[in-house]
């Protein structure tokens, strides 16, 4: 019985580690990404749009993202600590970093075909 508990505890620890990314919680980051409306300008896939930059797999580190969100240089709203804490932004950053890498345009047959017309 004790062995079973140890195995279960181990599985839980593995799960927690997988959800953490450099001190950011991916699952909570996803929840906050949706709650705080990041998707509105940046898209559900972080793909970017007319109104917001591509942020999937952001090249920023967590501190860089926090710095930008507090003092954006473009037209993005500035999110104060009261609205999104540093930890919450770190979680969002972890979620963005967890997004699967995008295919290259040349690897998508339809896009490749359109481009080469």
């Amino acid at each position: 019985m004790k062995a079973i508990y140890l195995v279960l505890a181990g599985l839980v620890l593995v799960g927690v580690a997988a959800a953490q990314n450099a001190n950011g919680n991916v699952e909570n980051g996803k929840r906050l990404f949706l709650r705080d409306g990041c998707w509105e300008c940046h898209g559900y896939a972080g793909q970017g749009s007319r109104d917001g930059a591509r942020i999937a797999n952001t090249a920023l580190n967590a501190q860089g993202l926090i710095k930008y969100v507090r003092h954006p240089t473009g037209a993005m709203p500035a999110f104060a600590e009261k609205v999104a804490t540093d930890q919450e932004l770190t979680d969002i950053w972890a979620y963005l970093k967890s997004m699967p890498p995008s295919k290259a345009a040349k690897d998508i047959p339809l896009l490749n075909q359109i481009k080469n017309q």
Binding site: G43, Y44, A45, G46, S49, P77, A80, A105
Partner: protein
């Protein structure tokens, strides 16, 4: 004119020979005999019948029930002379006389009556039709409640420099208002409500007056800048019979549409010198081209100078795969030429973004950059509505129609290009071509991100659409702002009818009806009309789907169903972030969810082929293929695609 006219003119009779007849009858017989003997031949005695008419009981009223020539018939003759293809209207009692004359006396041909479910739809359909066909549409509405519905669409047309010919029914003569309804539907000055955003109006009081004003209105409307006009059609004039005199004398004035004003030759020569000697000239094009010829001329100017064309996305400018399209940079320009750009100030300035407090402006161009404009907006202004934009502090302003000025500008530029300038111009062209290619590569890489996402990305939507329509003679008739301009980044736009711009004054509700109007114009040319339909826009007046189905207007609509008034949702989030609170509440009052609207079901209810809602991007291509087959048979079709916000 309800009573029959007597063969005897009462007043004329009394003024003439029988002035003393009444007294004669009242006098004693002896006096009467004496006076009769002395009667002068110049004043013949009235006949017994005349005497009875003047002195007896008034004759019984003779009701006239019918006429073979109501005034509306003449109005129809006048309006037919203006060569309208269609009438777009929701029916209204104040113009029932005209409607009857159009469909019976006029044979419901040239123009043909198209049934609309909302006056806003009527005007917006006319807006879309004009931008494809270059011909204005006749629309009709009540002078009161109908115009109130139509007014936003009219403002959009005004902002977009589009002519719309609007007839307003009204009952000016109080004795002809038959009920409280007609009192409620009558107005002293019908056009006053929209006078701030129309070019001209009149309320004729006779048929002759109507003829002259109707033709004048058309002429004013079609002289650049194009703008809507309003003519009030008095109900009494429509419904009462034409007088015999009117039948003999009324004529329809001759219409001659003025040639568009071209720029002053000296100013054009000065502009050519600025452009040819510039190291980095940039052309910013708004509504510069009015038709295919305008697009060719604009392309010729750009290629002559190898100057990039920054597209303000109001009309087609130059082909999207021309390396000069949207390449270049105004920040590096030494000369910027604005062609029919209503917001030219923003070409050279930026303001504090919405995410910061206070407001400052800064120049976004180099010191010393020369600014020049050609626009017919300098020839026409209204003061109340502020669509004229901020005052642009330019170095040269040519008050003229840009397209009409382009031939002389191109010629002047070509004359000034020396071999040295030619080498510099060619080198610039190569740099810009490289930049265009880099931009294009970047766009395609951006399109790949979120390719398989659900909701479907707007880039994927645009790519799948292009894959299905590119072998057709297509026409994309929707504004592309809310889909991040993906079609213009991926598709090959090279004809004037490939893109027609947007609202004009950003009045939402334009999209669906303008697309139907544009599709009707494209129908006779056999083009496949494509509309990317925003969900919020369709919900203003979805009855236009029925109009498309009823009149067999082939139109492929793809819902951009992002389930929100998304621009407002973003603004609300901006405001919440400014106040450091509640960004998670931005959906309140802006989301269109719970329940989700099923647009495929809606389209079916209006009698249209539909598919969806589609959430898996892989299902979109096959659905498109099936829908296009329906459209190619001459019917409208709608695909409900659940999409990313932008």
């Amino acid at each position: 004119m309800a009573k029959a006219k007597s063969r005897f003119g009462r007043r004329g009779f009394l003024k003439g020979a029988a002035a003393g007849a009444a007294a004669l009858v009242a006098k004693p017989a002896a006096v009467k005999a004496q006076e009769t003997a002395q009667a002068r031949p110049a004043a013949p005695l009235p006949s017994p019948r005349q005497v009875a008419f003047e002195t007896g009981q008034p004759p019984a009223r003779v009701d006239v029930y019918t006429t073979d020539r109501p005034g509306a018939d003449f109005m129809v003759d006048v309006l037919k002379s203006l060569n309208f293809d269609y009438i777009f209207a929701n029916p209204g009692s104040s113009f029932r006389g005209l409607q009857e004359s159009f469909i019976n006396y006029g044979g419901n041909k040239a123009p043909e009556w198209i049934t609309c479910c909302h006056e806003e739809s009527s005007v917006a359909m006319a807006h879309g039709y004009f931008k494809i066909e270059g011909k204005p549409i006749l629309t009709m509405a009540h002078g009161t409640v109908g115009l109130q519905h139509a007014s936003m669409a009219l403002y959009n047309a005004y902002g977009d420099r589009v002519p719309v010919y609007l007839i307003l029914g009204n009952e000016q003569e109080i004795n002809f208002r038959r009920s409280d309804v007609e009192w409620a539907h009558s107005v002293q000055d019908a056009a006053s409500m929209v006078r701030d955003y129309t070019k001209w109006d009149d309320s004729p009081v006779s048929l002759g007056h109507f003829a002259e004003s109707a033709v004048r209105a058309y002429k004013i409307m079609m002289t650049p800048p194009y703008e809507p006009v309003v003519i009030c059609a008095n109900g009494q004039l429509q419904e009462e019979p034409m007088s015999q005199e009117d039948r003999r004398t009324l004529k329809i004035p001759k219409l001659v549409v003025p040639t568009p004003p071209a720029g002053d030759p000296n100013a054009v020569a000065e502009l050519a010198k600025m452009l040819v000697n510039a190291e980095n000239p940039v052309i910013v094009a708004g509504r510069a081209a009015r038709n295919e010829e305008g697009m060719k001329l604009l392309t010729e100017l750009a290629e002559t100078l190898q100057a990039p064309v920054q597209d303000r996305r109001m009309r087609m400018t130059i082909p999207s795969r021309n390396p000069l399209y949207n390449s270049g940079n105004t920040a590096e320009a030494d000369v910027i030429l604005g062609l029919e750009v209503p917001d030219f100030w923003y070409v050279s300035h930026a303001q504090t973004p919405i995410n910061r407090m206070g407001m400052e402006t800064r120049s976004t161009v180099k010191p010393g950059t020369k600014l020049a404009t050609i626009t017919c907006s300098d020839l026409f202004s209204r003061s109340n509505y502020q669509d004229f934009g901020r005052y642009a502090d330019v170095d040269l302003a040519i008050a003229a129609d840009a397209q009409a000025t382009l031939p002389s500008l191109i010629e002047a530029c070509k004359k000034l290009i020396t071999p040295d300038r030619k080498r510099a111009i060619e080198a610039r062209g190569k740099r810009l071509a490289d930049q265009w290619k880099r931009n294009r590569d970047r766009d395609f890489e951006a399109a790949a991100v979120g390719w398989d996402a659900s909701p479907v990305s707007t880039a994927r939507m645009a790519a799948e659409l292009w894959n299905q329509v590119r072998h057709e003679d297509w026409s994309l008739v929707s504004d592309l702002t809310f889909v991040s301009w993906w079609p213009q980044r991926l598709w090959d736009f090279d004809k004037y009818y490939h893109f027609i711009g947007g609202h004009g004054a950003y009045g939402i509700g334009y999209g669906a009806p303008a697309a139907v109007g544009a599709a009707l114009a494209n129908k006779k040319h056999g083009r496949l009309t494509v509309n990317i339909q925003c969900d919020g826009d369709l919900n203003y007046a979805p009855g236009v789907l029925w109009t498309a189905a009823h009149h067999n207007i082939p139109l492929l609509s793809v819902m951009h169903n992002n389930r929100a008034y998304h621009q407002e949702q973003m603004f609300l989030e901006d405001m919440a972030a400014r106040a450091s609170r509640g960004v998670e509440n931005a959906h309140i009052g802006t989301a269109i969810k719970n329940p989700n609207i099923n647009y495929a079901t809606m389209a079916k209810a209006y009698g249209m082929y539909s598919a969806g809602p589609i959430e898996n991007p892989n299902d979109f291509g096959p659905a498109l293929k099936a829908a296009i087959e329906v459209v190619k048979k001459g019917e409208p079709a709608l695909i409900d695609l659940v999409t990313q916000p932008r």
